[in-house]
Amino acid sequence: MSDLLKLSGVHTHIGRYHILQGIDLAVAEGQVTMLLGRNGAGKTTTLRTIMGLWQASKGEITLAGQRIESLATPDIARIGVGYVPESMAVFSDLTVKENLVLAARDAPLDDKQLDWIFGFFPALRRFWLSRAGSLSGGQKQMLSIARAIVEPRKLLLIDEPTKGLAPAIVMALIECLKEIKRKGATILMVEQNFFAARELGDNVLVMDNGTIVHRGEMAALAADVPLQERLLGLSLEAHQ
């Protein structure tokens, strides 16, 4: 499996704070790579730096062999990176349909793709003409993810999709993400819910203080309780 995304020695400064301190990571094509770590470790900053929302101050970021660290965010999106932010960031004044029309940037909405999305996000069909601001938290998350997959993307960056959702909704969301994974999507996902991480992840990266402190297979980390405690300060079992 070749690497679709590579970060080499990436540093990011936000104001006078040195957040990413030399990140090296690779995301394999067609796999789900989980990015774990304590609060403040730099996970969201990593996604935002890849997306160009914060500029890397040093280092290289390549997507399918193309350097992207100096590209503007719209250009990074146009070469096939979809982004689902932690805040979901649905356009609440727009309807569900209008949110997806905007996400399908260069072409009209594709009916087949929509049917596929509605297959696991039926609420979006039901509330097609409702304002996104009136959706529940889980439905907004559905819309945010649907927006990222309404057109084919090379890479999906998903930031804590289960954050703040009720357990039943989290389970349903995991099933949806599994379906997206089965379709061959390449995903780099930040997640604090270890159960979700274990269910979805092929590979795992653990961050601490702006650096990658562990990389390996998700199954191996899930099976190694002492390693979980050392890296994350908690065991996965405690979070199920």
Binding site: L53, A89, F91, L102
Partner: protein, 336 residues
């Protein structure tokens, strides 16, 4: 999966009618206070006409504020430039303007307004590239740059046209009033209302019926996410800025005809009103801007009639009252 299917119907979004009812309530409240129905009607029509002109001038500014968080204190320059450019067309064709034929009048007035919009829009392009582009995200510098730009624009107008006030008489066919019973409604005010309403409807159609409009609405709410979807919002902003400048130019022509005069600092008082409108309407909200403009004009007209001594502060009091009721304006679009 059923949890996400959400079989419960969504709560219907509440239609927020309170801001729309506000000017209606204010107008009705004034009937007993003013006493005379004809005076009330005259003041109300004057308010609506003035409100429409202020709306035309403020609409671009509210989108600029909402979309890019840019504080453009130089917006008044586009108003004055628009008015001065109109004199370039109207002065040589003074005879056509004074002809007693609506068609002849409009044949001169329309090109004058279009030229004003084109020049103000082009000036907007220059201002955005030269003054605003280097100071995105830096409010203090934006205030300094755009205020400096306004001073330069005013002084340039003085240098080119001289310090004197230039008369801009109303076209002959737009003078006078429609008399209905004992009520006189100025013809030009009716035209101003129609143009303002037309601009409002056109903006609403673009915002609600086109992909460009969707992008503007989405950008006002979360420009970072619009960029993450692959849209170059700076280009969109430039387009909005130029359109806003062009509309300010149109508003300048209309205001100059309303006052029948042009001078370089004509926008100074208007700028204060425009900022009040943008703030009380809610940054980035065209609907809020429309209602805010009518409210400001009503308070200025009714207040000037009932309590002339309070005329200067009446709109500040209006802003304070509205922000105490709704701290982010009548229709909050952005989180600012």
């Amino acid at each position: 999966m059923t949890d996400l299917a959400a079989t419960d119907p969504l709560p219907k979004p509440k239609r927020d009618l309170a801001p729309i009812l506000l000017p209606v309530a204010l107008a009705l409240l004034m009937i007993p206070l003013i006493g005379s129905t004809s005076s009330w009607l005259t003041l109300t029509v004057a308010s609506l006409a003035m409100g429409m002109m202020i709306f035309i001038m403020a609409s671009g500014l509210t989108l600029v504020f909402g979309l890019m968080d840019v504080l453009n204190f130089g917006h008044g320059a586009f108003i004055a430039v628009g008015a001065y450019v109109a004199t370039l067309v109207l002065a040589p064709f003074a005879a056509s303007i004074q002809a007693d034929s609506l068609l002849t009048n409009l044949a001169v007035l329309a090109p004058a307004a279009l030229l004003s919009m084109a020049v103000s829009g082009a000036l907007g392009l220059v201002v955005e590239r030269v003054l605003i582009l280097p100071v995105y995200g830096q409010h203090l510098k934006q205030i300094l740059m755009t205020t400096g730009g306004l001073i330069v624009a005013e002084q340039t107008l003085y240098a080119l046209w001289g310090p004197q006030i230039i008369p801009m008489p109303l076209p002959a066919s737009l003078r006078g009033s429609f008399i209905i019973g004992d009520v006189a409604i100025a013809k030009y005010r009716v035209l101003a209302m129609l143009i303002g309403l037309g601009v409002f409807i056109a903006i609403q159609l673009v915002l609600n019926r086109t992909k460009l409009g969707l992008l503007i609405r989405a950008g006002v709410e979360n420009r970072e996410m619009v960029e993450a979807l692959g849209y170059r919002i700076r280009r969109l902003f430039l387009g909005v800025f130029m359109t806003g400048s062009a509309l300010a130019g149109l508003g300048g022509v209309m205001w100059a005809l309303y006052r029948e005069q042009v001078h370089a600092s004509m926008s100074d008082d208007l700028t204060v009103l425009i900022f009040i409108v943008v703030i009380i309407g809610g940054l980035g909200s065209i609907g809020g801007c429309f209602i805010g403009a009518i409210l400001v004009a009503m308070v200025a007209n009714y207040g000037g009639f009932l309590v002339p001594k309070l005329a200067l502060v009446s709109n500040i009091l209006l802003m304070v009252a509205i922000l105490m009721w709704r701290p982010r304006g009548l229709y909050a679009v952005t989180s600012r």
